[in-house]
Point group: C2
Chain length 255, copies 2
């Protein structure tokens, strides 16, 4: 035996933070979230605040107007007859590598190492037709800044996850995953842990931050303006970076 003890979890609760107004650059998102949290009983120690990437990106000004974008020849090709070549041009600028494409679909690796549709560039939930929203430049740093403010406002330690909806290689539909974390250990490492029969566990790492992001999505909803939720009762606090959730290139079997 290794002396490792997996925590025995109690009830987990997921609480939507509703009524956040349309966000623009330099809005005080921390205060808005803190006020909405106060209306539903307030933040408690060890709560995880999950915030949609789009809310973060808007506040950070990561918005591009398509009328200002001149598409390259490659963007025109990848857009095909049904896509907007200006949108694809923005995707290419955000991408480190195009992993797969089938016009107008582009699956790309972002500057952060995430593999996702459109390099995370999205046109929905923007106030103007002509706008697309990019991923934050450094989602861990975004999470840290938000966490520092929330800890100050609430007077207790909380974690923050910046989430987004990603597709999966062999499964239909998106699930929300963690793009940035602060005060969170994103992987639960069971290497060396034993099952109830004393046998070493095979599935050795659980992406708990992704599961928490997905749980939060269940109350957030894309068609409503519910860009954040509190997840209470999960014991995932610690230090870490969302980069731990990225499969290292040398272990990637799928590109």
């Amino acid at each position: 035996m290794t002396g490792y003890e997996e925590p025995s979890p109690a009830v987990v609760t997921v609480i939507p933070l509703r009524g956040i107004p349309e966000l623009v650059a330099d809005d005080d998102l921390a205060t808005l979230l803190f006020e909405r949290a106060s209306q539903v009983g307030g933040l408690r120690r060890a709560d995880v605040v999950v915030v949609a990437q789009k809310a973060i990106s808007k506040v950070e000004g990561r918005v591009v107007r398509l009328q200002d974008v001149e598409p390259s020849e490659r963007a025109r090709e990848l857009a095909g007859p049904d896509g907007d070549p200006r949108h694809v041009e923005v995707i290419l600028r955000e991408a480190r590598e195009v992993v797969r494409s089938r016009p107008p679909l582009v699956i790309a690796e972002t500057r952060h190492g995430f593999v996702c549709a459109s390099a995370g560039v999205d046109a929905s939930n923007t106030p103007e037709d002509d706008q697309v929203v990019l991923l934050p430049l450094d989602p861990d740093a975004s999470a840290r800044r938000l966490r520092n403010r929330l800890v100050d406002l609430a007077g207790c330690d909380v974690g923050v996850i910046v989430s987004d909806s990603f597709g999966r290689a062999w499964r239909q539909g998106t699930t929300d995953v963690a793009l940035g974390v602060a005060g969170i250990a994103p992987l639960l490492d069971l290497r060396g842990a034993r099952d109830a029969h004393g046998r070493e566990l095979v599935s050795t790492q659980i992406a708990v931050a992704d599961e928490v992001a997905g749980a939060a999505e269940l109350v957030m909803g894309k068609a409503h303006q519910v860009p954040a939720a509190i997840v209470r009762g999960v014991d995932i606090h610690g230090e870490g970076s969302a980069s731990e959730l990225v499969m290292p290139r040398e272990r990637d079997l799928f590109r």
Copy 2:
């Protein structure tokens, strides 16, 4: 506008069902789950009961003793020096196709169409060293049988998800996903839905059953004997099959 109204979700609660004993073939899992649920306030209408695949498989006798398995030449190759060729032989018998391999890792498509490590064949949490557990033959049917019994026992309508931990192509760590469902619409289809600005949503399908399975995993834990949880407050009831969560072959860009 389409008249579509995405439901506005309230608080979601995830409640572990603890103290389920080691399961063997023909155990009455429905009664065991119902009794444990009664100890935490009982099942309510529209609850989703998430049950680990391994619990279902044990009750259904989907267990193989490795001493009875004669490995083929191919199994010996794929096992490499570090794997157990008998274990790999069982994987090959469960697999419709080997998608990738790097000894001793085998990623395969199961008879159900799921792409996952070891075709879902797992040695952890088995009472004997020599045993491996296979996926249920028809996880939707397993979920339906369990749901019928639970509805009878509880006297109210509940949904059931059979879950398992799957890895992902470009992300570290596993998340729990739905292998079988009953009384559940596994995908929330937002095609035609509009965002708060009246713009059509791009991420058109959300794999809500996978997010519910992942939320349940947060309280289940592999090292404990907590093979099930109640997820309360999600509005995903309806008719459907976990096969809806499988990416159709013609849309699969990654094999």
